[in-house]
Amino acid sequence: MKKACMGKILNVDLTRGEIKEEIIPDEVYQKHLSGMGLGAYILYNRVPAGADPLGPDNILGFCSGMLTGTGSFFSGRWTLVGKSPLTGGWGDANCGGTFSPAIKRCGYDAIFFTGISAKPVYLCIKNDKAQLLDASKIWGKDAVETEDLLRNTHGKKSAVAVIGPSGEKLSLISGVCNDKGRIAARSGLGAVMGSKKLKAVVLDGVQRIAVHDLGAIKKLSQKCAKWVTFPVPLPPGGIFAFVGSFMRITSVLFPQDGMLYRTILKKWGTVGMNQLSSEMGDAPLKNWGGSNVDFPIKKSKKINPDLFTDAEIVKYHCYACPLGCGGICTLKGEYSHTHKPEYESVLALSGLCMNEDLDSVFYLNELLNRAGMDTISAGGTAAFAIECYEKGILTIKDTDGLDLKWGNTEAIVALIKKMIAREGIGDLLADGTKVAAKKIGKGSEHYAIHAGGQEPAMHDGRNDPGFNLHYCAEPAPGRHTIGAYLYYEMFQLWKTVKGLPSPSPLYTKNSKYLANEEQAEWAVACSKFMSFANAAGMCLFGLFIGSKRVPTFAWLNAATGWNKTPEEYMEIGERIQTIKQAFNFKHGIDPKTFKINERALGRPPQTEGANKGRSVDIETMMSAYWKRFGWDEQTGKPTNETIKRLGIS
């Protein structure tokens, strides 16, 4: 009997309406684990070179993590994989909620869809019976409505992943929703699901997930839970704005321990960072052109973390999470409840557009979740449109009468509604900044902040150049969930993985901005670790607590019965990352084109604010990163020796 994984996947051909099981050999799990690793292995081998991301040849995979359902913590994330229509290369997005264990409960590690259905359908698996059912009655409904309807039909216990109207309308910044507002949003994979005419996946299974040594897993989990739950007294949320100011002013810093971040997450969730980030220069403001001077504490207090906990009815935990950073909140307007907006959503819809109205942020968060649109990309695209309008590139005629000025809440809400409905200017903007800038022309590309088509998240790479490196050098560009110098400090990988350097206990801030070998090594370690962690189904916020306190490697050994060292697991991460890069080359992507917009690199440097005078030597950093991975340092292509050494076929 397989341990930790189920040993099977389900292949669904939507063109023919065929559903087939496939046994996956043990060797594949040994080399790639499950989750993103299994997805990368299948897609690299099966998506033909040059396939149209929105055509029948593209494969969309729903993969659960290797550790999901084993009794380990933070292991409830599932990964959506496919060729991205937004970047043209490797695409993935991951999400929490309860969908990941549901895949395994149906007896599969992953479900892969190919082809295009003639009419809207959804996949329903009830125990061993998998069938494609007619979705014409739910097509056009929003994500929450669809989930309610499907749960009423197929049982309250079933887990549902759906696309909203954005995905149906093939918006390239759409994602896949589950649990009424958790969303696998990045890489535009909602459009892939929409192109396949697949509205939803409904899972209701009860299969058991076997593990090698449940006692050992529980022992590790109980130790881990202590790190997560012990109470730490905290000041009111507004204090963090001043902590941010201090971090901006100080010239000396020390490596940060993730325990502080977990404490903030436990009390407020990611929104705990709202004011801290905008004060210290981590949050990009005014479409990456502004700074903390434009959005001082006087303005950022409108997004004070305490305002979010005030609106919170109850905490929301994803499956297998002892932390519970989410929440269910009340809000004003037509909807009664929403998932607590995340830091990324809040900053993208407020600071990036200079919007100071918190009610509108809550409303837009729910609206975008229901539409199945990526809040980061939607906010980034709205900010781009505003800047174009302010600079005279777009006129009031182009915007259908919307006065798109910085901070005009009404116009921003109306614009995003148009983007969801793909009406007028909304149609132009619904595919993200890269496509919009290409259509608009007139020099608008200078204001389109994207890396290879993907709008970067609300972490400024001029403040932590590690972010910029990962935005540009990852096979799926524009991601904030893989690495940064800050992340390397918090992962504390040097405590578990042999040969990795520990950061010095005190360093000057200026030393951060050097593009040197050591920092390339940190970035490579983060990339390997996160590729591995996504294959294991782990949550980034759990990993921030530190690799020793959240014992991912030990959990895996206890769950599978293997006896692999952390270094061997890191090699699995390296293999997955290299497959993703090779996937991009197979599909004719030049990784140099993933370089982020010059403005986000500090070219020219800003003249005021936290990131004044800083620019990032990204070319040197990318080259050093590629070299350390065993990829060609000029082109980023994985060398034959690397491919051979990692046994990629």
Partner: protein, 144 residues
């Protein structure tokens, strides 16, 4: 090994109705069969069978139990970390949320929401990572 049905089976179909995995099949009044691939060893078929015709995964005969005597989970909320593993694990969806019960503790804890549908399989207790669930057969007395 899965649960199995012996020739004592009279084909009454009581187990078919209870099985959460849809693992049991057979015609009315004929010998039934448990699919080894689908069986999750929850044991509800053995508890309900009037003929003692079911053997458990170790081959021992399952004894019929009155429904009121089936064990039920009891949650120790001091240990519970609200990870909702039990809610997801429950094969019959009997476990639900308490909602926010204390003003100072905003977490959403699990509770036995639907006692009638609980089949006493103990999977929640088995899978609870922090061992916050124990199974009790006796009726739970309210703490005074």
């Amino acid at each position: 090994m899965s649960h199995t049905i012996t020739i004592k089976c009279n084909g009454c179909g009581a187990c078919v109705k209870m099985c959460p995995a849809d693992a049991i099949s057979g015609e009315k009044d004929k010998l039934h069969l448990i699919s080894a691939d689908l069986c999750i060893n929850c044991g509800v078929c053995g508890k309900i069978c009037p003929e003692a015709a079911i053997n458990d995964e170790l081959g021992a005969v399952c004894l019929r139990m009155k429904k009121s005597a089936w064990p039920k989970p009891r949650f120790d909320l001091k240990k519970c970390v609200a990870c909702i593993n039990c809610i997801e694990t429950c094969p019959v969806g009997s476990i639900g949320f308490t909602g926010r019960t204390l003003p100072k503790d905003p977490h959403n804890y699990p509770c036995l929401e639907n006692e009638k549908t609980c089949i006493g399989c103990s999977f929640c207790a088995l899978e609870c990572p922090v061992d916050a669930i124990a199974m009790f057969s006796a009726p739970i007395k309210a703490a005074s």
